[in-house]
Symmetry: C2
Subunit: 223 residues, 2 copies
């Protein structure tokens, strides 16, 4: 029933436009009574994004179950990928919805609040992982915002291309930027090595900082 | 007139609640006709945030005028500080509005779209600065999201404290985290030194990565 209503709503939004479609139109198309609509969806906007509530619940469950042994940034990147998979599961619907959302200010605002809920969920996980660390809450919010921005950049490229190509690859590449940055960031736990060991590095002075970091990391990983 | 209407609206929202205040109440309190309200504000929500349009315009003008010689991240951090100053100019109003916004879902959503517009403005500047650089657009979006998240973290701490203490210091500290991270990030231009020079670094293996970066940076700066 929920799915039938969401399908009917979405088809009407595409045919007539979002603003010109009434709830009465939707229930008539779906062949149900008016009150059924509001039993499943608080508003016309909600019917455009029928899967985000369950995706948020999946994300929360995933984060709750994640091992504290894993790198916290890796965990939130994997959490964000659950959203990508939701979109990639039905490319045609996702692309049509993306185009519809660009055109309707009310849907864009609705989408912003959904994105914000994902961001808060990821930030909440990081805050708990970095609890007690210096600036833990600040870092958690900045990291969650970075992950969401990178995820959405990859997702949008794929949506704008009409759902062609590999959505996961686009998002993975974007998330890799964030992972690299945070691997080099102040909050990273020190590698578990003896305090009195030293690494001697020789780097050309012209080398960009990210290459220096890569070398330090690989040196620390080597033994 | 605009200010008188915004003041009347805000006082009524505090006294009666946002939902229970009508536009008729507002114009009666301000002593003007109903159509005056809509001449200045498209909606009841807009009257709660009367200064963001001009602040967005100020931010755009500031970014347009910024020298390309300056570090791009430093420029967007300064751009974000314009928002902070808007809040810090009237602590009592800012704190009351913060509390009101927490309570009214429609105002929270409105605030989200304002924040998103600031973020897009900053991202647009960075995209143009990093035009042609590898993953320039992706980096621009992630950096803008980081700056906004850090700024808002500092701003919210100050608002939650009831507007006590130094708002600028709270935001500066938060933005410093982002500046440090991006100084170490892949897109940073290489320091202008001779290619054949080398730095030899000796670092305890247990040292956290941020300390390693600090040392590399200070070594490269030294001569």
């Amino acid at each position: 029933m929920r799915e039938v209503l969401a399908d009917a709503a979405f088809q009407l939004y595409l045919e007539r436009g979002f603003e010109r479609t009434t709830v009465d139109d939707i229930v008539a198309r779906a062949g149900v009574g008016r009150r059924s609509f509001f039993r499943y969806f608080p508003s016309k906007e909600d019917a455009v994004f029928p899967d985000h509530e369950s995706c948020l619940a999946d994300m929360t469950a995933f984060l709750d179950a994640a091992s504290d042994e894993r790198d916290a940034i890796d965990v939130v990147c994997d959490g964000a990928r659950l959203v990508l998979r939701l979109y990639a599961a039905d490319p045609q619907f996702s692309v049509q919805r993306y185009r519809l959302t660009r055109e309707v200010p009310g849907l864009r605002t609705y989408e912003l609040s959904v994105v914000r809920r994902y961001e808060r969920t990821l930030a909440g996980y990081l805050r708990q992982r970095w609890n007690g660390a210096e600036n833990g809450a600040l870092r958690a919010e900045v990291a969650a915002a970075s992950v969401v921005a990178a995820h959405n950049n990859g997702l949008r490229s794929w949506l704008r291309s009409g759902g062609e190509g590999d959505a996961e690859a686009a998002v993975d590449q974007a998330l890799d930027l964030v992972r690299t940055m945070w691997a080099a960031a102040p909050q990273s736990p020190a590698p578990a090595t003896e305090d009195d060991e030293v690494v001697v590095m020789v780097v050309p002075k012209g080398a960009p900082m990210w290459r220096v970091i890569q070398r330090v990391e690989s040196a620390l990983r080597d033994d």
